[in-house]
Every structure is written in C-alpha cells, then in structure tokens.
C-alpha cells in the first residue's frame, strides 16, 4: 500500500485528506493529553481511589496510631488478685485505667513506667462528688460535709468500696430527696411514715426495696376531710378529687405543691 502511495508521490498522511491546520491542532491535543495524564499520574497520590474517593493508605495510617490505654484485660493478666477483688465489688464496671491512667507503656515495661496511684480526695470526687445532675441513686457525698480533709482511702478501699458502716439515716444515700423534703411542707414527716422498709435495706439496698403507698386512702389518712390530723393540714375529698389520677401523679410527695 505504502509503495503504491509513494509511487504516486503522496505521503501516507495525505490519504486522510486532513488540512494542515487540523493536523497541527491534533498534534497539540495529543501533547496536551499526554501532559495531562503524566501530571495527573504525579499529583494523584498513591492508593487514592482504591477503596473510595480517598487514599487507602490513610486507613492504614489511622489504624497504626500507637495505643496508650491497654484495657482492663491486660491489667488482670498480672494483677489477678486486684481484678478478682474488684470484680466482686461495686467498682466491677470501673476499668483500672480510669483511676490509674493510661498503662500501655506499663504493660510493655512494668519497671520503667509506673501508673499513677491517685490518693487525693479529688480523684474520687470526679464521680462521687454531689451534683444535682447525676442520676438518682448514684452514691455521692458533699465534699465539704463528708469528713473534710480526710483521704477517702482511710475508710474506703477503692478496689472494694463499701460504706465503712451501715448507714444510719436515709439521707446518707437519698440525699437529694432528704434535702428537697427538708424545705417542703412534709419536712416533719419521717421517711418511714410512707415507706415501710426492711432493716436489711440499709445493707443490701436493691435486695430489700422499701414499700411505697399504693392508693389514695393512704394520703387520705391525713388529708381526707374527716381525718384525725391537725386542722392546718389541707383537706380534699379523696374520693372525687383528681379524677382518675392518684395523688402523687400530680403532687410530688417529697415537695407537695397544693396548687
């Protein structure tokens, strides 16, 4: 074919009958495309797009960050005795490194990197200092009132925390209710007036749960029109007042509002 063309004195490219300017433009485009591809090759980072619109190596980099917290299982491997004691205590859900700080370095080299042993009151108060925002029933103390300046560890073993003696008053655990009741019209009532409690509740709080009133007639014992109580106590017809609702569904008994 070429021989035929050459014989006629035409270059092979003339066969396409392309004008010169188009040819030049085509060459320019070709150079541009090659340049674009090579620049792109250089600029788009390695491993980009392997897993998605990101560098796959970044996932490996994120996974390769060093670990500081070893985890409670690692602690138990050497400190089995403490883990066992703590495992049966109220602090069983409290991981070692919450108090003792990150200990992965200690797991690697136990002699060089000693974890911290917090002995100041503040360490316990992070969790056990009184805050009204904390969930009801969570053990809390008012720092200024609860044996000020004494270290917590003098009376409580943090690996097996227990009250040093069985609490004598309800307010030791139910402080928020006690404080609310103290400023309410019900301040003179004893807790036992409404809550019959097994004495063992003080030692095993969740196993022996105190009772609560169940019907309107209980409140009627003081608040019914004919109840044998002081004449200053507000009276209400227990049979009809409030319709289908029980007394404590509208009035909070620890701080009852009459209106």
């Amino acid at each position: 074919m070429r021989r035929i063309l050459r014989r006629r004195g035409v270059s092979p490219l003339r066969l396409w009958k392309l004008p010169d300017q188009v040819l030049r433009l085509g060459i320019l485009f070709a150079i541009g495309a090659v340049a674009l591809l090579s620049v792109r090759q250089r600029l788009v980072p390695k491993s980009f797009g392997e897993l998605g619109h990101y560098r796959a190596d970044a996932v490996k980099a994120a996974a390769g960050q060093p670990i500081r917290y070893a985890g409670a299982e690692a602690c138990a491997e050497c400190h089995g005795d403490v883990a066992e004691l703590k495992g049966g205590s109220y602090h069983r859900g409290v991981s070692c490194e919450i108090c003792h700080g990150p200990a992965a370095a200690h797991v690697q080299d136990a002699g060089e990197n000693k974890p911290v042993v917090p002995r100041e009151r503040k360490a316990c108060l992070y969790c056990h200092g009184y805050l009204p925002s904390r969930p009801t029933g969570f053990p809390q103390v008012i720092e200024k009132a609860h044996n000020p300046m004494e270290p917590c560890m003098g009376c409580h073993n943090p690996h097996d925390p227990k009250p040093p003696r069985i609490p004598s008053s309800c307010s030791a655990c139910h402080g928020m209710i006690a404080r609310t009741k103290a400023v309410s019209p019900h301040r003179t009532l004893k807790c036992e007036t409404c809550h019959a409690a097994d004495p063992r509740h003080r030692q095993y709080p969740t196993s022996f749960i105190p009772k609560k009133p169940t019907d309107r007639s209980f409140c009627g014992g003081c608040h019914a029109p004919n109840a044998p109580s002081s004449k200053h106590i507000p009276r209400v017809d227990v049979g009809s007042h409030g319709g289908r609702y029980l007394c404590w569904q509208c009035h909070y008994p620890h701080h009852p509002e009459a209106r």
Partner: protein
C-alpha cells in the same frame, strides 16, 4: 510486505521491554500486598460497621471519657480542642434551659449554688456522630476526609489542606483545626484500637457503662442489645445525616 527480520525483531523487543518492566514492578509488590491485605482485609472489605450507644441516664458527668480521649489521641490540652466532651443540661422550673461544659467536663463539674429551681438536669456526652451520610465528607474538596468501609469517618492528615470547610459543615461541632498540624481533626472511634479488638478509650474509661461500643453488623454485640432494649434517638435527625451514635432516654431539650 518485505520488512527485514531485523526490524521486526527490533519492534518485538521494543514491545517486550516496557511489558517486562511493568511485570517486574507489578509482581514484586503483589506478594507483599497480598500478605498485608490478608492482615488488613477486615478494614478494606468492611467486615464490621461500627457504631456507639450512649445511655444518657447512666452518665454521671465525671469527664473521665474526655480525659481518656485526650491522653489516648494526644489531643491538645487547651479548652476548645475536643474529640469528645460532656455537656450539662439544666432545665429550670421556669422552663429556661442552660447548657454548660467547662473545659469539656475534663475536670468534672461544679455543683450549682442554687439548685432549688432545677426542674431536671442531666449530662450528655457528645462526640463525632460518624454519620452514615456525613456532610463533612461531602464538602471536602480534596477527598481528605472520608467514610471508611467500616463506617468510621476519618481524616487523612497527610492529605488535608486545612481549608476548614468540614469544620463549618459539621452540624455537631465535632471537628476542630489542630494548630500544630494545621489540619482538621476529629474523633476516629479510636480506629487504631477498634481494629485491634480493643474498645475506644472513652468507652474503656466510662465507669458507669454509659457509653457502649459495638458492631452494627453483629446481631449479638453489646450495642445491638442496647439498641433493642432502649428507646433510641439521634442528634438532629431532621438533617438526615443518619448518625451512628445512638442516644437512649434523650431529653427533648438536647440539641
């Protein structure tokens, strides 16, 4: 056609040369890549799909999660730089709501002086929600922030240009610009820990198990159990970001 054999041979040789070079360059690393793929296969394939549950009624606001997060991930100690933080909500008897988070709650909280007008109060731990449809990923102009195959939203610190678009886009305020590296930073669910079978540092450090971490694909993970047993909510559901941090017993005042 009368091309000389020498010419043909030359052309064939010319073709072989780049092919063999390419083959060597491909075959060499393949063996390495296969070995590492077997090790990191779980992440690449997306065997897991991670999420977190937060039981608001269990949070005591001790701030140990914030402390653990900063220690584990070398987050700057100054306020304003948090991968996770704890907010205290106080609803007053007149209906007014105050929210505070002194230094992210890392030093705990001070008791309020006047508590008689508190109607209810609680703590809400917050962190990156690892949205299933992350707005931060959508706005990143270079593909430096992304959702990995196991559902974790990560930042490629080597590739981020520090333009701060993602910080603006995040509706949860979970991102910040690290002044040391000048790139965006955020919670990674402690990706380096979870890929090794450990718990995220904040979950490890939570004394009341208010935070629960797990695999959404596993039917028997602690997270799935919590999700079955609780009334779940997510933050800002109207934005359709589909967060993978699920809150139980969340108050309506929480934003």
């Amino acid at each position: 056609m009368e091309e000389t054999p020498a010419r043909r041979e030359f052309l064939v040789e010319l073709l072989k040369l780049p092919c063999s070079a390419a083959l060597v360059s491909v075959l060499g690393p393949v063996t390495d890549a296969e070995a590492s793929a077997a090790k990191e296969g779980a992440e690449a394939v997306g065997e897991h799909y991670y999420g977190m549950g937060i039981q608001v009624d269990k949070c005591i606001g001790c701030g140990r999660c914030v402390e653990a997060c900063k220690s584990e991930n070398d987050v700057l100690r100054e306020p304003f730089y948090f991968r996770t933080w704890v907010e205290r909500y106080v609803v007053h008897s007149d209906g007014k709501v105050t929210v505070d988070s002194p230094n992210g709650g890392i030093q705990g909280f001070e008791a309020p002086e006047e508590e008689r007008d508190i109607l209810r109060s609680f703590f809400v731990p917050k962190l990156c929600n690892h949205c299933d449809r992350p707005p931060c990923v959508q706005v990143c102009p270079v593909g430096a922030t992304f959702k990995s195959r196991d559902g974790v939203v990560l930042v490629d610190a080597d590739y981020c240009i520090g333009c701060r678009y993602c910080i603006q886009a995040c509706p949860y305020g979970a991102r910040y610009l690290d002044p040391r590296t000048k790139v965006a930073d955020k919670c990674t669910f402690c990706y380096h820990r979870i890929t090794k079978g450990l718990l995220p540092a904040c979950v490890e450090a939570c004394p009341t198990q208010a935070r629960i971490f797990g695999d959404l694909k596993a039917m028997s993970s602690p997270l799935r159990r919590m999700m079955r047993m609780s009334s779940l909510q997510v933050l800002k559901p109207a934005l359709n970001t589909e967060p993978k941090v699920f809150y139980s017993t969340l108050d309506k005042e929480v934003r």
